[in-house]
Amino acid sequence: MQIYINGLGNVSPQNTLDNSSFLEEIAYHQDYFRVIEPNYKEFISPAAARRMGKVIKMGVAAANYCLRDAKVEKPDAIVTGTGMGCLEDTENFLCSILNNKEQFLTPTSFIQSTHNTVGAQIALLLNCNNYNFTYVHRDLSFESAFVDSILLLKEGEASNVLLGGIDELTPNHYAIHSKKRLWKKGISTSEILGQTSDGTMPGEGAAFFSLSSAPVDPYARVLAVEVLFNTHDQKELNGLVNRMLKASHLESSNIDLVLLGTNGDKEGDRVYTAFKDTFFKESCSAPFKNLCGEYSTSTAFGVWLASQLLKKKAIPACIPLSRKPEKEVKTILIYNHYYGNHSLILLSSC
């Protein structure tokens, strides 16, 4: 069975929701990447929108755009991944508990703090009774959702799946993690990859995909989604890469472009360099987090970027390619890692 990406919806720190342009102008931000929020009125009533946390609105908007793009009214399944869930609502409820000594609390932020709120709100707005799962496994949350989505299609349980990766950044999250010196501070996001030093710049986003076993004006074909846990051993990574290539009947030289999760952090970036140099020496490569920042489900942005590149058959100037590709880019591998967890997502043009 072949699996196609038939629709996209992406609320991100770039102007990515409108499909008519493709990263023609780049938005820069100070210190961290913030999503460019669309006009939510189109999808959510103003009264409902006032109550919703940012991540829910982002997710609902991206999901709506995606379904419209794929011409799907009601998906057979909704599968989302989120590393941190509804942070803003969680923090709001936690702070009210602490500040008011557990008195005078209202339920709204608690209700919306549940990790499956985005998937649930999409189902509610679509009146969709179908399968609805949310994965919350750190930097492999989106990949977990992706693996499940492929399984649903292969089982014949769904003919199309709405897959999404969603995470929001909040001021508290930023400030708390600053204490761990995780961030490069006092610079523009344009400089995220400019200096090799400790730390990165955080981001956020909501990217949705309509997957199907039948191509409908598709962006890309999904060849593989592979994950590897808790290892720094190159041999294990090598085994994974070989398995993926073999299963896809490809050689490493067939990979035209490798999108790397390079994020400016000195130590983490070494792993990307080693990955590229060891396994895909001949392929072109480029980072993607210079556009979206580092967050748990940033690979969803990577998949959006790869899908657009494969369909539009053009590479925008903002993609810092290692070198100019000699031929048309037909196969793209996305590689990401975080604290010993690794993921590979392989897409091809249709």
Binding site: K101, C128, E155, S178, K179
Partner: protein, 398 residues
């Protein structure tokens, strides 16, 4: 896909045997809050695991200086029991997955440390706990303890979370992606959840009374429950007993309200109906339903309505075990999968404690006394959560 191991820790016992003993001697675990600092201490009853964090560290065999959450400790204890009871340590390593679930992960530690996290000048050893907050943390620590690396993930769909991890594990084995998996979930009680449910006004000040007309709400609980699921081929290795089979599963969405269940129980109805279809069973084949039965007016009416729609006048014997364990949120599907398997193995139906009068709206009476010697061939286990997330599992006798 067969079940070869069980593991559980809850307010009524620290392992499977203790849980079974409490279930059959009708001893609930509900009482006053002991392990949390909250203004609700002597007002809101809960169903705590009767061990302090220090005692859990010791039981889990962790270094006491390690940054570890109660959630991880509960999970390690139950998942390890499941792993060892299936004899997985004695057979060749096949492709093994660990699929876990939790609703609030490491919130129990975060809510205590949050003011210190927010203070820019307060840095110190406590900052190690920052990385233990998210839902994936307990999964990774448990998998690491059991030496599982082939696959792991974490599901969070509120109160149906661990039913869904069992569903995913079964599907992955069926599809040949794994040979076996440990699946279930864990949640520890937190001030965050107690206050959350309290604002929704669905916490009973007395022991909860599922399906009773006088029910006022649920009691929150904590714990962990895991089962070992294997392909039949994998389970044959090493002469190990097969306890039951995961026969069916389904997940649907009620699509009615973020927290409330629909009056017609549509999501619950569809989940039960589909789980039966997957199991290849007719409604009359079900001998016992371990209902979600939280004790909230809304859940029990909606679930009861869905049961009546599906089974008509012949609703099978049913009970909620939440009057024993409280509602363990992300863990309840796992814990109740263990109880459902125990029901099949021991030909026993655990009673629905605290039930006196059936609700006015429906002609439904749960089992109120312990039933032994019942030949239970098929059990339906329901788990419903916020966000309209509804799941049903079918366990079959081998």
């Amino acid at each position: 896909m067969v079940i070869t191991g069980l593991g559980v820790i809850s307010s009524i016992g620290n392992n499977v045997q203790e849980n079974f003993n409490a279930l059959t001697s009708l001893k609930p675990g509900i009482g006053h809050i002991q392990n949390l600092d909250t203004v609700h201490k002597n007002i809101i009853p809960v169903s705590e695991v009767k061990l302090t964090d220090e005692e859990l560290v010791q039981m889990a065999g962790f270094d006491k200086n390690r940054a570890v959450t109660r959630t991880t400790l509960l999970g390690v204890i139950a998942a390890r029991e499941a792993y060892l009871s299936a004899g997985l340590d004695k057979v060749n390593k096949l492709r093994t997955g660990f699929i876990s679930a939790t609703s609030v992960g490491g919130m129990g530690k975060t809510e205590v440390l949050y003011p210190r996290y927010l203070d820019p000048n307060d840095t110190g050893d406590f900052m190690r706990f920052l990385e233990t907050h998210d839902c994936g943390e307990s999964t990774e620590r448990i998998a690491e303890t059991l030496g599982i690396k082939d696959f792991m993930t974490t599901i969070s769909t509120a109160c149906s979370s661990s039913a869904n991890s069992i569903m995913l594990a079964t599907r992955m084995i069926k599809a040949g992606m794994l040979d076996r998996a440990i699946a279930g979930g864990v949640d520890s009680l937190t001030v965050f959840t107690i206050n959350g449910f309290n604002t929704l006004m669905i916490l009973d000040r007395e022991h909860c009374r599922p399906f009773d007309d006088s029910r006022q709400g649920l009691n929150l609980g904590e714990g962990a429950g895991y089962i070992v699921i294997e392909s039949e081929e994998a389970a044959k290795a090493g002469n190990r007993p097969i306890l039951a089979e995961v026969g069916g599963y389904a997940n649907t969405n009620d699509a009615y309200h973020q927290t409330a269940s629909s009056p017609d129980g549509q999501g619950a109805f569809l989940a039960m109906k589909k789980a039966l279809e997957v199991a290849g069973l007719k409604a009359e084949d079900i001998d016992y339903i371990n209902v979600h039965g939280t004790g909230t007016p809304n859940n029990d009416l909606s679930e009861g309505t869905a049961m009546t729609r599906l089974f008509g006048a012949n609703v099978p014997k049913f009970s909620s075990t939440k009057a024993y364990t409280g509602h363990t949120l992300g863990a309840c599907g796992g814990i109740e999968a263990v109880y459902s398997t125990l029901a099949i193995m021991n030909k026993t139906i655990f009673p629905n404690l605290n039930f006196k009068v059936k609700m006015k709206e429906l002609d439904l009476t749960p089992e109120t006394s312990l039933l032994s010697g019942v030949d239970i061939k098929n059990v339906l286990s329901n788990s419903f959560g916020f966000g309209g997330n509804n799941s049903a599992l079918v366990f079959k006798k081998i």
